[in-house]
């Protein structure tokens, strides 16, 4: 891997465009989007549904590749990577947290958290130790052998966060992580992200809730595939209020 200088951005997007073919029409989901994310930043991506934020998240997470433009993670251009190279990149560089948790229902919390390490070929004993460590760090030391259906929504999302953290990825990518939780539990999860930010993790939080974006040091607002605001979370969230009503 390239060892970056301290100033080099962790993520660099330049002119990212993503086109979809829907029937005979071409949809421009992202249009010339450019921004950078430094190591240790906590960033919210906000926007209405259809604004392009899901497409952006998929590209940031290397689940999808842009039609045009360059996307560099740690200086490495993801364009032209083979499918298996993208899979390895997701495994090492990205930790996903989903709105619907996306835990494997028949596996215990521990087995769920171990999964990214299985795909990295980490030996069983080390895998187990690291998964236990990750679960402890999200406050689930006593729930390791429970299956998802034996856990509350908040606990499930903590398992998912532990799974995202266990591989020590460069980027934590959360998609509406509080969307399926009541507000009290959602607040807990946001506080947990705050702690992780304090510990130095780079976090991108994709959400449609301005309230959540307001708690992030930085936020980007997308609309119709364009960045319409990029600034302090509170300001961008406030901007979004009236726009959300008119949209």
């Amino acid at each position: 891997m390239i060892s970056p200088t301290p100033e080099a951005p962790l993520l660099a997007l330049a002119g990212i465009t993503r086109l979809y073919q829907v029937g005979s029409e071409t949809v421009r989901a992202l249009d010339e989007v450019s921004f950078e994310v430094r190591r240790g930043e906590w960033l919210a991506v906000v926007g209405q549904s259809g604004s392009g934020k899901s497409t952006l998240m998929n590209i940031l997470g290397c689940l999808d590749t842009p039609t045009a433009g360059t996307y560099r993670i740690d200086g490495r251009d993801v364009r032209g990577l083979e499918d298996h190279e993208l899979a390895d990149l997701r495994n090492r560089a990205i930790g996903f947290v989903f709105q619907t948790f996306q835990l494997l229902p028949r596996s215990t919390a521990l087995a769920n958290v171990e999964l990214p390490l299985v795909y990295r070929g980490v030996p069983r004993r080390e895998r187990r130790a690291r998964a236990e460590g990750a679960l402890r760090s999200v406050g689930l030391a006593d729930r390791m052998h429970h299956r998802p259906n034996e856990l509350s929504g908040g606990q499930r999302q903590r398992v998912a966060i532990a799974r995202a953290l266990v591989g020590e990825p460069a980027l934590l990518l959360a998609d509406e992580p509080t969307g399926n939780l009541d507000s009290a539990t959602g607040d807990e999860i946001v506080r947990l992200f705050g702690e992780l930010h304090q510990r130095g993790h780079t976090i991108i939080l994709v959400t449609h809730e301005p309230r959540l974006a307001a708690r992030c040091p930085r936020a980007i607002r997308l609309m119709d595939g364009h960045i319409v605001a990029d600034g302090a979370g509170r300001e961008v969230a406030a901007l979004g209020g009236p726009q959300a009503v008119t949209a």
Partner: protein, 415 residues
Amino acid sequence: MTGARRALAEALEAVRIALGALAGHRLRSALTTLGIVIGVTTVIAIVAIIQGLNRSFEAQVQVLGAHTLYVDKWKWLNLSGDWWQYRNRRPIGQPELQAILRESRLAVAAAPSTWSRATVARGDRELTSVAVNGTSSEYLAANGGAVRAGRFLVEGDAELARPSAVLGTDVVDQLFPGTEPEAVVGQRILVSGKPFQVVGLMEKRGRFLGMALDNNVLVPYTTFRQLFGARRSISIAVAAAPGKLGELEDELTSILRRVRRVPPDRPDDFTLNRQEQFLKVYQGLTGALYGVAVGVGLITLVVGGIGIMNIMLVSVHERTREIGVRRALGARRSTILVQFLVESAVVAALGGALGTGLGLAAAQLVALATPLAAAVTPSAVALGLGFSAVTGLAFGSWPAWRAARLDPVEALRWE
């Protein structure tokens, strides 16, 4: 290094997932694999029975001797309609035997054999329809077999046409019940009304194609001729040195053609029979049976395989989101492919294992309940397991390929 470790970890994970998925749908898995179970059961049972038959048949044919040619007027097991050609041949007799003994360099032993049914008696005990066999001292070397007590016929017996007799075990058991073998040697018996002295007893030989081989009396061929007449055709058993059977056949053909003055443009007027002829005819019969069994088994496996493919397609569909999650966490397409291939192979192999067990049990039952034999060979077991696992892989490959081709974004969004 890490590649191999990763592959191993993924393979173990795949087996774990497969077993978990099967345990999660016990009834469904059981029904899915039923086709495979039935197919493998059928094939294993039939194969076990056929192999059992083959073994017992081969063991029986062994009494004919693998290195022995039988010079005969008749061809064994001649199923075509040209029997009259054989019937019109001149008989085979002493000139042929003498020529073989004198000229053959590849023959280890050559013994004449001619036989007749006759009554054998001792005191008031009388056995009708015993096979009386006229032969020479080389009989054992040419045909196989061993003496249990006393001695076999010697050259002097034939030269002097002595009334010496060597008894098969069935004859001994019936004429001398409860008598020690050594005590039987030296006793007198009547063969077709003429007195003979027992000089030896044969070891038990068993049965060949349902015929008792031990209900016989061996006497010198010269004595036999005096008793039953000299005009009948004889059979000559000629043993070859190991590995020389083919050369011996050529040598005997040329000796016999010369002795019997067969013109060069005429076919042989004698036959060199060998053990293999029985095996060939027999294998032709069981081969057809094998073919039918394997055909039925393959059709059932295909049906079972389609069942597996169907259920794997359902499974892939149901687990679309799981596939998306795994892809997001770093599973490659190949990882997903292997995962589902392993799953279908495991279902099929479990069915195969069950079918193998049932098939062997069925074969044993048949062997117990009927005269048919059953042989459990490792190859049959390997065949059952191997075939079913291959079926699983073959029919699981399309569902697995579909799973691997899923777009992670679509799969994660799937409801």
